[in-house]
Amino acid sequence: MNFRFLAIALTISWLAIFVFLPHLLLVNTSLLTPHLEHLAVWPATLDNFQKVFTPLYLSVFLHSLELSAIATIICLLIAYPFAWIVSAHTSSVRAWLLFLLVLPFWTNSLIRTYAIKILLGKNGVVNTIMTGLGLWQEPMQLLYTEFAVIFGLVYLLLPFMVLPIYSSFDKLDPTLLEAGRDLGAHTLQRFARIILPLTMPGIIAGFLIVFLPAMGMFYIADLLGGAKNLLLGNIIKNLFLVARDWPLGSAFSVIMMSIMALMLLVYARVNHYVQRRGGLDDQNL
């Protein structure tokens, strides 16, 4: 029994006990019948999944997807140029910039969310400055709106978008760009045909890491959105804790996992595509 075997066995049993089994339980619960006192009881049924697609839950679900998608796209639009700029610096500057990016994580995200409340409130910093400068006639309602939820999500999740994109840029071979220039490709062409495809795995990885938490961060919607059912995470939390409909809550979680699986599939495909087109293997990306 060598070290390698031990490490692998440990990892696999850890994953089996703390990841695979709970998920199995979740899938199982999603197929049971809800019961207010006993939470979930037999017989098995597919009703819960059917209920997800009733107009009520479907519209909440789609709205949640929309909010999370907007937050993710904003993250992407900020993170992409940022990662690019960071990767263009010398390695010591890069280390500093990345350090600054990760620094806020030393403070608990809940505390930072409360700080956002102070910033966005009616008498908060933003409103005070804007009305003080005469730019706004009267304070705007920023807190407890969808804007506040998206703002909070972007703020908390931005680093998760930057890091994978940065690593794609970091691995981008500059000689490919030189070759492109030598062969007569202008700036836009070099971007569209070399840079973008080669950083696509970073973009997709960032998308995956940001989009899913963006659907689940119920406390952001509770604190900044006024506890209305805005995100999928709020619905699941309410179903589990308040309404005690565990099977339906589990059904939502299973659907969320399926979305994740689907996106991983897309990620694998894109990697494969880049590998074929760029003549590079996955590890070089």
């Binding site: 207010l36 939470l39 519209s59 909440v60 209305k228 804790l241 308040v242 309404a243 005690r244």
Partner: protein, 343 residues
């Protein structure tokens, strides 16, 4: 063999923790004077592990899931006592360890949710009513629940994040009891609530005074104690008992069936029932104490504050929540999800 190893490890860990006397308290958020907790530990040497909830439903779900284990003290509201006792989640109190029971007001003992106070003893009582900021709102425009339906409050109101309290308003406006189990009444209440949802900016049961204090909300629902605390910071924040009748509740100490430190739990309850301690808590959180021995100790401004201790007539006009049964509750929850989704 692995199992034995695991058990040994667990025993080692819990053994290390248990060397110290403790009591695990699960209370409503912002519902105690923190100095009381420190004094308790100082006096008895019993360490307090304190955690909080912001709705009965969440507290109940956790206890239900853990089959009454994990906490030594819980503080359910009114009808949750009977519900949890019926489901075997609570254990009987040992009155011989609770000599300070004699401090309590007999009017608040032996209620229908716990006859003979077998499972619970009252901690604080209060109400859910209307609240507004007098600097921004004309007091005459907020006297009844119905006033919250005025379209001029679009996107401005605070509601408590509590399904029963929100439905209570609509049931009372429609002339029914807030404890109605009739599906037709509940559906009718939902139809009415649908119209007020565009007015709601925020649901908050964690600290409803905060949005009033920060200026984000100028009118809506509130608990009387939260309004009293808010008024200490900003006197413009006023509490009103609505014409249709407020929701009244009593939050009581109870010991879950799986509590591990039962003796310490009794010591904690008995400590909280002391007159001086009850005085500190009431003055700090702004809710009424059922502790009649504490009343003479209270500052006059607290004792004579009609928001904290409302006159008999207002109490008679209000209602205490009762258990409405699983079917009615389920129906309310379905509608609640819809309302919160803006449907």
């Amino acid at each position: 063999m692995n199992k034995t190893l695991l058990m040994t490890l667990l025993l080692l860990i819990t053994g290390a923790v248990q060397a110290e006397e403790k009591v695990v308290v699960y209370n409503w958020s912002e519902y105690v004077d923190d100095s009381v907790l420190e004094d308790f530990t100082k006096e008895t040497g019993i360490k307090i592990e304190y955690s909080t909830f912001d709705s009965n439903e969440v507290m109940y779900s956790k206890l239900k899931l853990q089959r009454g284990k994990g906490y030594d003290i819980v503080v359910p509201s009114t009808y949750y006592i009977s519900k949890m006792a019926k489901e075997g989640l609570l254990q009987k109190l040992d009155k011989s360890q609770l000599k300070n029971i004699r401090n309590l007001n007999p009017d608040l003992l032996n209620k229908d949710y716990d006859p003979g106070n077998v499972y619970s003893l009252p901690y604080l009582w209060g109400s859910t009513g209307l609240c507004y900021n007098a600097d921004e709102v004309e007091p005459a425009s907020v006297t009844a629940w119905k006033d919250l339906w005025d379209p001029k409050w679009k996107g401005k109101l605070l509601f408590t994040d509590d399904v029963r309290e929100v439905f209570h308003m609509a049931l009372r406006i429609n002339g029914h009891s807030g404890n109605s189990e009739d599906p037709a009444h509940i559906t009718q209440a939902y139809e009415l609530l649908k119209k007020v949802i565009p007015n709601v900016l925020v649901f908050n049961s964690e600290a409803p005074r905060e949005p009033y204090l920060s200026g984000d909300v100028v009118v809506g629902m509130n608990w009387n104690g939260e309004a009293v605390s808010a008024a200490q910071e900003n006197p413009a924040i006023q509490y009103v008992y609505p014409k249709e009748g407020a929701v009244f509740w009593v939050d009581s100490f109870a010991i879950p069936v799986g509590a591990e430190n039962v003796k310490n739990a009794h010591a904690f309850i008995d400590y909280m029932l002391r007159a001086e301690v009850a005085k500190l808590n009431t003055e700090y959180v702004g809710y009424a104490t059922p502790n009649q021995a504490a009343l003479p100790l209270l500052e006059q401004s607290t004792r004579e504050n009609p928001v904290i201790f409302p006159p008999e007539k207002i109490i008679a006009n209000g209602e205490f929540h009762r258990d409405i049964g699983n079917d009615a509750l389920q129906l309310m929850h379905d509608y609640w999800q819809k309302l919160k989704a803006g449907q």
